[in-house]
């Protein structure tokens, strides 16, 4: 019998191993990518001599394992290393990018959960009827429209035609809170897809849950409809949706590259994108640590919720 406490302890332990694996894998991947920081820096002037010189200046001529070992040793001291491209500490890269990313993620999730769950429950309540078809078609339609097209539409209408919000956050730097209007379109674009996947999963679970004898029993006993839906049925419908939500939060925190680029929001996605393009291994590695930890924690959270809402799993023979 594994109690919840020992289960969490085990998962955290495994999480540490997973993060290490992520870091190793990312290191291997960046190494496996053709070209290195020197080649990336040389750009369209790939003079072999210059590349060799850059390599030497960046210490890239040392064996990969040695560099990894150095980096790991630094990590143990809490030092994420310095960027190959600029010589600035990796920590500052991550710290700079984290603010906008967190803000965007928090806003999106704050809107996503009520809309996604609400729409899913609404559709499930009216299964097969007009409301259901409408909600499903709308969310699926928005989902199937590519992100950029949806973004263009919003920019054209909300920003350029109506002038309600600025079209991009260019020039606002990391201080996005001072310009909340600039976040409207990015958040809407970020919402467009997760709302659909969340709503569809909630709908699927809710149809079965609302149809179950326990929901019928609660209704029979005059428990208010809202409470039947959200208090009784939803917990049983939530496990897959929670996984989906965790994936979404993970995606939001680990860099939403397209949206950041389209609206000039200098978040972690932009940092990652540039670092990969520059083959700035220490920065990519630093991000990998952050992303690895985030993913592990989120997965653990989602699994905890799933366990909480399916308590019988503990007792299975």
């Amino acid at each position: 019998m594994t109690g919840p406490r020992s289960w969490i302890a085990r998962r955290l332990l495994l999480g540490a191993a997973q993060t290490a694996a992520v870091v190793l894998l990312v290191f291997a991947l960046t190494e496996a990518l053709p070209g290195d920081a020197a080649v990336a820096l040389a750009g369209d002037q790939p003079d072999p001599e210059r590349i060799a010189a850059i390599r030497e200046a960046m210490d890239l001529d040392r064996p990969a394992l040695e560099r990894l070992a150095d980096w790991t040793a630094g990590l143990a001291r809490g030092d994420l290393g310095t960027s190959l491209a600029s010589g600035r500490p990796v920590g500052t890269y991550i710290a700079d990018g984290f603010g906008p990313t967190l803000l965007l993620a928090a806003l999106t999730v704050a809107l996503l959960v009520p809309t996604g769950v609400g729409l899913g429950v609404l559709a499930a309540r009216h299964e097969g009827r007009f409301t259901d078809r409408l909600v499903s078609s709308l969310t699926l339609g928005v989902y199937a429209v590519p992100e950029f097209a949806f973004g263009v539409l919003l920019v054209t209408v909300l920003a350029l035609r109506l002038g309600w919000v600025p079209p991009t956050a260019v020039g606002y730097g990391t201080d996005l809170l001072a310009h909340p209007a600039a976040l409207v379109i990015p958040v809407l674009v970020l919402l467009s897809r997760p709302v659909c996947s969340l709503a569809r999963l909630v709908r699927a679970g809710m149809i079965d849950a609302l149809d179950s004898p326990y929901a019928a029993h609660a209704r029979r006993y005059g428990v208010p409809g809202v409470r039947v839906r959200y208090g009784h049925a939803l917990p049983n419908a939530l496990a897959p949706a929670t996984q989906q939500l965790a994936r979404t939060v993970d995606w939001l925190l680990c860099g939403v590259i397209v949206v950041e680029a389209l609206y000039v929001i200098p978040g972690l996605g932009t940092v990652l994108m540039n670092a990969v393009a520059e083959r700035d291994v220490p920065v990519v590695q630093g991000l990998a640590v952050v992303f690895g930890v985030t993913t592990v924690v989120l997965n653990l959270g989602a699994d905890l919720v799933a366990r909480r809402f399916a308590p019988r799993t503990e007792a299975a023979a």
């Binding site: 019998m1 109690g3 179950s212 004898p213 326990y214 929901a215 019928a216 029993h217 609660a218 029979r220 006993y221 005059g222 428990v223 409470r227 208090g231 009784h232 917990p235 049983n236 909480r308 809402f309 399916a310 308590p311 019988r312 007792a315 023979a317």
Partner: protein, 491 residues
């Protein structure tokens, strides 16, 4: 008497599914302050009639007749309590949700304490001791009888004018049952209308003001209990009332050999030990009854033997060979040798597949029978238990509680087990059917010679079959070899 207006009324109800009437021409008046009992054969339409009072019908049913459902809420104790207990919520939350409407009139500050008081009182009335622990548990952490009493507590909390109770006393030991009977009597005294659907004739006799006897969807007779017991008019009623006592006792064939041997065994749920057994042996052809209060660990014992409950220390030996703790590790022979019939038959069936196929699979998987042979064998076995072919070709949802119980037994029997553990398999059966089943089982033990039965039961008639009785109390055997009669009637 007729001056009192009925709180609910059914006139000439007909419920038809696929052109077959499962209830036909039923009239029922539910009067305040009275207990109306529906008795009758398993599958005769009691549950269907009871649900009609709630305005609920099976999916796809064609309904005709006049049904006047009660105006307010109706308390309902379903036959299968597990299904209506939300698996993701604690018992406390489930009870509080029902009680919340009752405290709405109070000022906000007082609601909490009032709510708590009511919940605790309901638990006490439903004879659920140790309320604090119960409230923190999830439904799956309760024994069958405990689940039933939680559902009863919900019904009591509701404060409804009408309570429909479908087999509220199955799975309860005699003293608890007496408590529940008192509770219903008290309800009736308060002016509440109680509709009791039950196979337990003692309970019906003690409680009912009016008894309706059903068979094949018709009410064959209705009368006050005194009259009914004194002078039943319909032969079927007579038969039902007569088949009270049990079948012939089964004595072990040989004391020497042992089929199953259990060493000292302690079983746990989490950290708490719920069963401590010094040891147990089972001889070929023997029949052992396991009785005891609800929640005393009977099911846990059965599940330990069957490999469904892994968290125990101690060994279970089959023919001197230790059985793997989990049934996942048991070989097909081992699986076939020790079969367990689940207490909650409905939960133990796959709701998507016809019952017949599920029953036949046992023969295919555990005995390597060919598919057609298995089906034929399943049909015969099911027929012997009183289940017709057109019935078992349906999915579990379209069978009545007692029908499913018999199907579950058939499924285990098809393994040709050497040890058959039956967990409350007669709780949902009328006396006639029950007698038939017990006779079948007794005959099987006699004919096969190597079959041993473990009957987990609250029913004296069933326990009477056993040559040996183990009484469990709080997880420990208090008496063995006790005469079944005494154990079953009082404590």
């Amino acid at each position: 008497m007729d001056a009192v207006t009925a709180v609910a009324e059914i006139k000439n109800l007909r419920v038809e599914i696929d052109g077959r009437a499962i209830v036909d021409g039923v009239d029922l008046r539910v009067l305040p302050g009275t207990v109306t009992a529906l008795v009758g054969a398993s599958g005769s339409g009691k549950t269907t009639t009871g649900l009609a009072l709630l305005g609920e019908y099976p999916a796809g049913a064609l309904v005709s007749g006049d049904v006047r459902a009660p105006d307010g809420l109706v308390g309902y104790v379903p036959q299968h309590p597990a299904a209506v207990l939300n698996p993701a919520r604690r018992v406390g939350a489930l009870l509080r949700d029902v009680a919340r409407a009752q405290v709405r009139h109070l000022p906000r500050r007082e609601r909490r304490t009032a709510l708590r008081e009511r919940v605790l009182r309901a638990l006490a009335l439903a004879r659920l001791p140790d309320a604090e622990t119960m409230l923190r548990r999830y439904p799956h952490q309760l024994s069958g009888g405990q689940q039933q009493r939680v559902v009863l507590a919900q019904a009591l909390l509701l404060g409804a004018e009408v309570v429909v109770a479908d087999e509220p006393t199955t799975g309860q030991d005699p003293s608890t049952k007496r408590g529940i009977v008192e509770q219903f009597a008290a309800l009736a005294r308060e002016g509440i209308a109680v509709v009791l659907l039950s196979h337990d004739l003692d309970v019906v006799r003690a409680l009912a003001d009016e008894v309706l006897v059903m068979r094949d969807g018709h009410v064959v007779e209705s009368a006050p209990p005194e009259r009914l017991w004194r002078a039943p008019r319909h032969p079927w009623t007579a038969e039902l009332l007569a088949s009270g006592s049990g079948a012939t006792r089964v004595e072990p064939v040989s004391e020497g050999a042992t089929t199953l041997e259990v060493g000292p065994l302690t079983a746990r749920h989490g950290r708490t030990a719920v069963l401590r057994l010094p040891g147990l042996t089972l001889h070929p052809g023997a029949c052992l009854a396991v009785v005891g209060r609800s929640g005393s660990g009977k099911t846990t014992l059965g599940r330990c033997l069957a490999g469904l409950h892994r968290h125990h220390d101690g060994e279970v030996l089959l023919d001197g060979v230790p059985l793997p703790r989990s049934l996942r590790d048991r070989t097909r022979q081992q699986l076939a040798a020790v079969q367990y019939v689940f207490q909650d038959a409905r939960a133990a069936f796959d709701e998507h597949r016809p019952v017949l196929h599920q029953v036949a699979r046992t023969a295919v998987r555990l005995r390597g029978a060919a598919e057609p042979d298995a089906l034929a064998e399943a049909l015969t076995t099911l027929a012997a238990l009183g289940l017709a072919e057109d019935l078992v070709r349906r999915r579990p949802g379209a069978l009545s509680g007692g029908e499913l119980q018999r199907a579950a037994l058939a499924r285990a029997l098809l393994a040709r087990p050497r040890v058959l553990i039956c967990d409350e398999i007669t709780s949902g059966l009328d006396t006639v059917t029950r007698k038939g089943i017990l006779d079948t089982l007794a005959a099987l033990v006699r004919d096969r010679g190597d079959l041993s039965l473990v009957l987990i039961t609250h029913d004296p008639a069933t326990a009477a079959l056993a040559g040996r009785v183990v009484v469990l109390d709080a997880g420990e055997p208090v008496e063995e070899e006790a005469p079944a009669r005494r154990v079953m009637t009082g404590a």
